[in-house]
């Protein structure tokens, strides 16, 4: 049995020594997941706001669809993106497979529905409060959507965090479309999978500890942000 203390020691040793490979892997993880998060927010927030503001026909079906997309298995998403981006696939000419861009696309497809569905839930409450006032003021739907997103910003940070957490912890999709190529598409989760399969459980656990520390610090940061917001009664 590997001992946990050893893994912790290894983790801190790696960080302290400024291991270049480690920082490259962590950096790529963050870059890919943050980029996917950014795109997902650009897509998901307006969709969430639109579903709140417009009571169009078939809205219930769209909401059910978006909600169920939250539960799509990452490997299936990865496989679909692989088939699309493969040289033999419809978008193969772009030459994106096995690149960070492909991983960003896969993670975006994975978390945009999460961001959309959760932001709809967050904005629903805000809309209930603002709706009459906005209609009284003659605010257009577009401006109402924007105002909901701006005023719901602290709630949406939590939504974004949920999306980021899912993106950065995801392995099934990125290993298929990224290929876990060293110095190119190897991220924390695929590196952990590789170290595990090499039987180097200590290293795998050390990487896992670093990944979890990042997740925890990001959440603590968001919690602090929320506390500031609440003090200003903006949350």
């Amino acid at each position: 049995m590997q001992d946990f203390a050893g893994a912790f020691g290894l983790a801190f040793g790696l960080i302290a020594s400024g291991d270049a490979d480690l920082f490259e892997i962590v950096g790529l993880s963050m870059r890919v997941s943050l980029m996917a998060l950014l795109l997902s927010c650009l897509i998901g927030f307006p969709i969430g706001a639109l579903l709140v503001v417009r009571k169009f026909f078939g809205r219930g079906i769209v909401i059910a669809l978006v909600n169920s997309m939250m539960g799509f298995p990452p490997v299936v998403i990865g496989l679909l993106i692989y088939l699309v981006l493969s040289r033999a696939g419809p978008m193969g000419w772009l030459g994106l497979l096995y690149s960070p861009t492909a991983m960003i696309i896969a993670q975006t497809v994975l978390i945009a529905p999460i961001v959309a569905a959760l932001s709809r839930q967050v904005l629903e409450a805000l809309q209930a409060e603002y709706d009459e006032q906005f209609r009284s003021l003659g605010i257009s739907r577009g401006r109402a959507m924007l105002a909901l997103i701006v005023d719901g910003r602290y709630g949406l940070v939590t939504v974004a965090l949920a999306g980021f957490g899912r993106a950065v912890a995801e392995v099934g999709a990125v290993i298929i479309v990224g290929g876990n190529i060293e110095h190119l598409t190897r991220v924390m989760t695929t590196a952990i999978a590789l170290e595990t399969s090499k039987g180097d459980l200590g290293m795998a656990l050390a990487l896992g500890i670093i990944l979890m520390s990042i997740a925890i610090s990001v959440n603590l940061g968001a919690g602090a942000l929320r506390a500031i917001a609440e003090r200003q009664a903006y949350a």
């Binding site: 590997q2 870059r31 890919v32 943050l34 980029m35 950014l38 493969s86 040289r87 033999a88 696939g89 193969g92 030459g95 497979l97 096995y98 960070p100 861009t101 960003i104 290929g179 876990n180 190529i181 060293e182 110095h183 190119l184 598409t185 590789l194 595990t196 399969s197 090499k198 039987g199 180097d200 459980l201 200590g202």
Partner: protein, 271 residues
């Protein structure tokens, strides 16, 4: 708006870092056994320093590696399943196949050795004993080169593993390392290529039970993906990599790759 400009600049800079300029590079579809044994960690930095070409390796099972290459998602294929490789070339997906190197498979198991096969030299007999005792056996079950070699052995032993699957025969459907982890975890025998076994870090009390049988010979081949089928293939760079590996220089480097004093692969390219 100042804020919009800033935001746009930030967005652009992120995009730019992602799509940064690339060195000349090729894509190799290969097997988990070569990656897990550290072969690429050893050979690729040397290649890069000599030629300046980056070799990107996607390590999956041999079956999937061949399929990915058929989808043109590779320049070079480096796997170990001779029959499937020949078929790949015959169907026009590959230009030509070269023998590159070999190692051998070993049957590993717990020190307790419930099937009593330790020290044997006959792989088929060992498989028969495992089946007889219904001792646990973990299979890759992923259509990889190792998996194909293993299935051939069961066939020779005359054992219907389909009937035993889920009982004493456990197909993990994963790579070599994951299957070794699973074996150690449940006390099962398994078959591994020697290189992966030597470099595997979670051996527990596991030992090589059977080795040295000629049927355990494990040949690796290397193939350039056919640019006529796949116009995206970087034929020149791919061929350069193949020529380098099968050259006397490349073969010497392969032979010099050792872990714990043990040679991982034995070069046998025919010049």
């Amino acid at each position: 708006m100042k804020r919009t400009t800033l935001f746009g600049a930030a967005l652009l800079s992120i995009l730019a870092t992602v799509a940064s300029a690339e060195d000349p590079s090729i894509l190799v579809q290969s097997t988990t056994s070569t990656q897990n044994s550290g072969f690429y960690d050893y050979i690729l930095p040397i290649y890069k320093s000599e030629t300046g070409v980056t070799v990107n390796v996607v390590a999956v099972g041999t079956g999937q590696a061949i399929k990915n290459a058929q989808n043109c998602d590779a320049d070079v294929l480096l796997v170990h399943a001779k029959a499937a490789e020949k078929k790949f070339v015959d169907e026009g997906f590959g230009v030509a196949r070269s023998d590159l190197m070999y190692n051998d498979f070993v049957i590993v198991g717990p020190a307790a050795d419930p099937a009593g096969i330790a020290g044997g030299k006959d792989a088929v007999a060992a498989f028969k004993a495992i089946a007889e005792k219904k001792a646990l056996f973990a299979s890759r079950g992923d259509d990889s080169g190792t998996n194909k070699a293993e299935l051939k052995l069961w066939d020779k032993a005359g054992i219907d593993i389909k009937a035993a699957s889920g009982d004493w025969y456990r197909a993990t459907g994963s790579g070599m390392g994951a299957t070794l982890n699973a074996s150690v975890g449940m006390g099962a025998y398994t078959i591994s290529d020697r290189a992966t076994w030597i470099s595997f870090g979670n051996k527990g009390d596991y030992l090589i039970e059977v080795e040295g049988d000629p049927v355990l010979f494990n040949q690796y081949g290397i193939i350039l993906v056919n640019p006529e089928k796949c116009p995206s293939v970087k034929a020149d760079l791919g061929q350069q990599f193949i020529d380098w590996l099968i050259s006397p220089h490349g073969q010497e480097l392969i032979a010099a790759n050792k872990l714990d004093g043990k040679q991982l692969f034995f070069p046998n390219a025919k010049p």
